[in-house]
Amino acid sequence: MTRMASTTETMAGTSALAPPSLSSRAKARMVSVLLIAPLVLFLTLVFVLPLGGMLFHAVENGEVGGALPGVAAEMRGWTGEGLPPEAAYAALARDLKAAYGEPRLGEASRRLNYERAGYRALLAKTARAVRAIDRPQAGWTAELTAIDARWGEPATWAALRRASPSLTPYYLLTALDLRMDDGGAILRAPAEERIYIDTLGRTLWIGFVTTLLCLVLGFPLAHALVSLPRGFASVLMVCVLLPFWTSLLVRTSAWIVVLQKEGVLNGLLTRLGIVDAPLELVFNRFGLYVAMVHILLPFMILPILSVMKGISPSYMRASASLGAHPAVGFLKVYLPMTLPGVGAGCLMTFIIGVGYYITPSLVGGARDQMTSYFIAYYANTTINWGLSSALGAILLACIMLLYATVGRLIGVGRIAGIQ
């Protein structure tokens, strides 16, 4: 941040001193383009492409079309009312015969099971049964309905139709607690399945409270670090940085040891007679805030500190000599100058904070799980990468929105420290 600031200053400085000629300016621009080319390439390869791929997963829907191409094509031509024509049944039977035992049928089953529970077993059973039928006696409609009565239900086919196109809104809708019904209308999910909007709200709220707590603790600490004598300040600095160098898991587990019912703190409080029964300090929101603030505090302190270091003490002396009360001097002179650091610290703390999931799952309670928990759950455990990406995309959109709002209010340049 400071480096960015100084580069802008030097560039602005040279151009103001001696305006270079046109050709040399073009050459300089060429050189700078060449110099940043590796960076652009690097960013594209490791940032833009993976992120874009991740976001694409949220709408990608190739499973059914890949495994059952014939019936997927039939579904495109079908109106979606009642039951599909015989041709669709025949195409399904052909596709199932061709895909039997292939991994792609497993992928299609997983996708269809999201739309309707039980589809996995239905496809497996039907695929096994149709292999025995060479020539259907009474047409495939009758044969498939005889194998399983669900093939005679419009809902089964509506689910297949929704899952057939190569792109789907399913994951994004699910991530917003919405459903598409059999007629294609978008409705709210049944009450007992609404979960992600609440979780998102909770995630943002936990991020906000953590940021606020970090600011309240971090600001005075940063000020102490710049104003205390050097020896003492460096000891304090090590204390601030120590959590940075310790593994996240170790820090979090240490808090469990300290805060649990028969832990260090409760033992001390009961022995001193301050409390009668041990307090509930961990596996709830309180424990979560303690652990998260501890981990995120350096992200708040360091940007504020770097800005405070650049503020000369003579400003405060000047305001005092002009008759301002120290409190007025602090509010009118000192505080505004620290705002870029505060903005950067808050934004960084908040963005890192809303991505937490290991800490909440270890020291939080059942009601303290955040969106990232579900992202990790769907990505790692159930390989529902679509829903995982959709949740990630929505979290990303929230953060971008917040960034834009804060940027408009305070100015992006000020937050980034280049103004």
Binding site: E107, N113, E193
Partner: protein
Amino acid sequence: MTTRRAGRLCAPIVFAMLIASGSSHARDLTVVGFGGSLQDAMRTAYFEPFSKRAGAPLIEESYTGGIAKLKAMNQSRTVTWDVLQMDENEMTLACDEGLLEHFDWNGQPNAADILPQVKAPCGVGAFVWSKVLAFDPAKTPGVKSWADFWDLKRWPGERGLRKQARMTLEIALLADGVAPDKLYETLGTKAGVDRAFAKLDQIKPHIRWWVSGAQPVEWLAAGNVVMTSAYNGRVAAANKDGRAFTMLWTQQLYSADYWTIPKGTDKLVAARDLVAYMTSADAQKRFAETIPYGVTNNRASALIDPKIQPDLPTAPQNMAGALMIDTPFWVNNEDELQQRFERWVAQ
């Protein structure tokens, strides 16, 4: 930057790349388990003797389940796992998606001795585990069933359950008096699921949810919970270390974990050798005597020290009233029930 300096900087990088590429060619056979006291037992009973016998090193890794890594390895064609421990659910899903080698049961050594229930298309049963009600008899004497787990008046205090729909809904229905043989029939209906959640509602404020198998035993020891669901092997391991927890075998929930071979491994022959070794009677006897999980080789059961027999989930007296977890049911319904469960937990 001078050329010499650049050279000096690049040398270690080039060197590291050489090592990395060299090691990827000479990869040792890698086996992956779930870690903890379970994997310690596997090391003693299987990995070390096999490595000694084969005269080749065996690399161990551990993971916490989930098929994402397997799928990523498969898609990027860099399979570095050769033998993998999986639960039945995930094995079935991974098998359907073509991520696992199929087992040829005709050519499989020990095939005749393996329990028929654990011969799967893509895996062979590694051991039978059980989820039991565990408690400290010094603090809560007299607990006899899952129904007692719900009796907050007689035994006040927190309860530990695993934070997942699978097995938790079953426990709720068992506590509500549903017979094991009618359980999945009940859970297959909306009314049955509602009934399970209503039962869980009764003790919801007193449930502490665990996520890893080591937690419930630690919590029981630390006094954070007075009774909990836990895996029998973990409780037995704690008792070996001087605890005196009681396990309730009636109404135990049991299932098997499997050995599988990821598709695309270049060590297929060695991987099959290892699986064959781990399903042989002698090796399984050593395993069960180290950690009391049930064995899958019929001949091994007869060899196990009679003193240990009563601690195994598969002992006849422990099987009375036991519930076998219905994997096909969960493969079909887990997406939906887990989502409802997550929402209910967070409310």
